[in-house]
Amino acid sequence: MRKRADVWIYIALVASLLAAIIFSAGRGSADIGFIDSMKIILSRIPLIGKYVDIRNLPETYSTIIFSIRLPRILTSILCGTGLSICGVLFQGMFRNPMADPYILGISSGAVLGAAIAFVTGTQAALFNFSLVPIFAFIGAIIATAVVYMIAQKKGNLSTNILILSGIAIGFLCSSLLSLIIIASREQAQRIIFWTMGSMTGSSWNTVLVMLPFILIGSLVLLFNAGNLNILSTGDETAVSLGINASALKKLLLLVASLVTAISVCFCGTIGFVGLIIPHAVRFITGPDHKRLMPISALTGAIFLLLCDTAARTLFAPQEIPIGVITSLLGVPFFISLLIRTKRRSII
């Protein structure tokens, strides 16, 4: 029964995602409109394409959609997917509803890594491959490891200390980042972009680099959804049920740090997506990660795409950093969560 209901949820989400893509592709300084935008996108899809007539639409529309808007749309989708599944993972694994890559300081670690690579000139391509993502990954891993070690006590994680140490490490990284910004005036602009989050830099290249990481990361996490269910009931229980908890946690943390780092590299730090989405979805699906994970991935993709569309169109031609929008939505959500947790613990 649950399975049949799920099919409808997936159909609705995929339809919404497609609609959001078409809507977003039409919005902007050149206002293309939903139907025309749909026609232009369909015209490039094999098999269907030849039946779609776009001869009456300006050539430039096609260029705008395919060269500018679509890469950005896909980047938002990949980033939203990545951050959401990482949020699901962290909340489940740390048994803490307030965990997400941003609050745990992992995003900040990644930005710091990226910024270091950037200003020290190591961005010079090594074997034609930028070192920025690698440094971002190292930053994310170090931040994760430090937060984890601070919070760990005799094999158990203290959830409050986890959040607090995450916030502390986040602050530390931000401070170091400020120093870097001051020290390197010319590149300050680019680094500030990272701290606030933006999809402005996205291109087809971005999409091609992000896609394999997000895809493989998602598959690994999805494959482990059942294990994550058990892990979310506690390490000791997980071990007694035949799961090598410490090895599994290390693997999942590594994957999540990688996904976070790759998202941060191209989109900057975007807070609260990994917090809001898993929560909202858990209301509907319950805690089963086999449902929570894929549904959060789709919902996160739609959410971030709409946020980015708002970011670039609300005050056009001025862009709002997308991190500002997600924080504006996320902070009230976070506070309401705190209040709810507080009430629960008093009772």
Binding site: R95, I230, S232, G234, T237, S240, L241, G242, I243, G286
Partner: protein, 264 residues
């Protein structure tokens, strides 16, 4: 039939030696109590048995196979564990929780087989949790929660079930309910129950064999009537007790004596 043998088991947390050479034998279908003062290593012993901690030295042999040579899933098919801290943060249903007991039998992507479902239904029936199946684990009372966790261990279909103070959080009515359930698993289902306990009177009433531990070693082992002796308890716990005989059950009864001089 001997089912598990522990020889010279040692474990240290850093420099702190907690288990200093434990020897125990376990037989099928027997209810064992592990008793001893706080910090004597009871819980650490259990953690070594279900694999959460790795022994520093010594062996644990399960039906002729050293546990060291088993992979985690194999071990979990032989030993199940009912934790003391039953806090589960997320709202899993009772069915979902019990179904987790089937994890050692299928890979991460498999759905529950009809055999899995059968075992889960059997576990629910045996622990009277069938009517709770769709309830959230967090809506349950302490006793219901404990029954659910025992059901999960039962669904694991292992010969041995470890329990860490399963009734310490429960009122007297639910204590009896859970202890009855645990004993019936030994008597009727031929499970070996290894139960860490604090309550000497419950131990007297329910266990068939007691290991009394102190400072990381077993100091006494035997049937409750031998072990629950005022002299031994004074030695091990340092407490003065009166040990009598329970007229209703015929088992030993232990009454702690106050150190105040007849002040009440």
């Amino acid at each position: 039939m001997k089912i598990m043998e522990i020889r010279d088991l040692q474990y240290s947390y850093g420099n702190l030696k907690v288990l200093k050479g434990v020897d125990m034998d376990f037989y099928k279908g027997v209810f064992y109590g592990i008793l001893g003062p706080n910090g004597c290593g009871k819980s650490t012993l259990l953690k070594n048995l279900y694999g959460y901690l790795k022994p520093s030295a010594g062996t644990i042999v399960l039906s002729e196979v050293n546990i060291r040579h088993m992979n985690p899933r194999e071990r979990a098919r032989n030993i199940a564990y009912v934790p003391q801290d039953s806090h589960i943060g997320f709202d899993f249903s009772v069915f979902d929780i019990i179904a987790m007991g089937r994890n050692p039998y299928h890979s991460a992507l498999d759905n529950l087989s009809s055999h899995d479902i059968e075992q889960i239904e059997k576990a629910m029936k045996e622990t009277s949790t069938t009517h709770l199946r769709n309830k959230s684990i967090n809506e349950l009372s302490g006793g219901e929660k404990q029954r659910t966790l025992i059901a999960r261990a039962f669904a694991q279909d292992s010969d041995i079930i470890l329990m860490d103070e399963p009734v310490s959080m429960l009122d007297i009515n639910h204590q009896v309910e859970i202890m009855d359930l645990a004993r019936s698993l030994a008597d009727n289902m031929n499970k070996t129950i290894v139960c860490v306990m604090h309550d000497l009177n419950l131990a007297a009433q329910y266990t068939q064999h007691i290991f009394l531990m102190k400072d990381g070693v077993v100091v006494r082992a035997g049937i409750p009537d031998e072990i629950l002796d005022a002299g031994i308890i004074k030695d091990v716990y340092g407490a003065d007790v009166f040990v009598g005989s329970n007229e209703v059950t015929g088992s030993r009864i232990v009454i702690p004596l106050s150190r105040l001089n007849n002040s009440f």
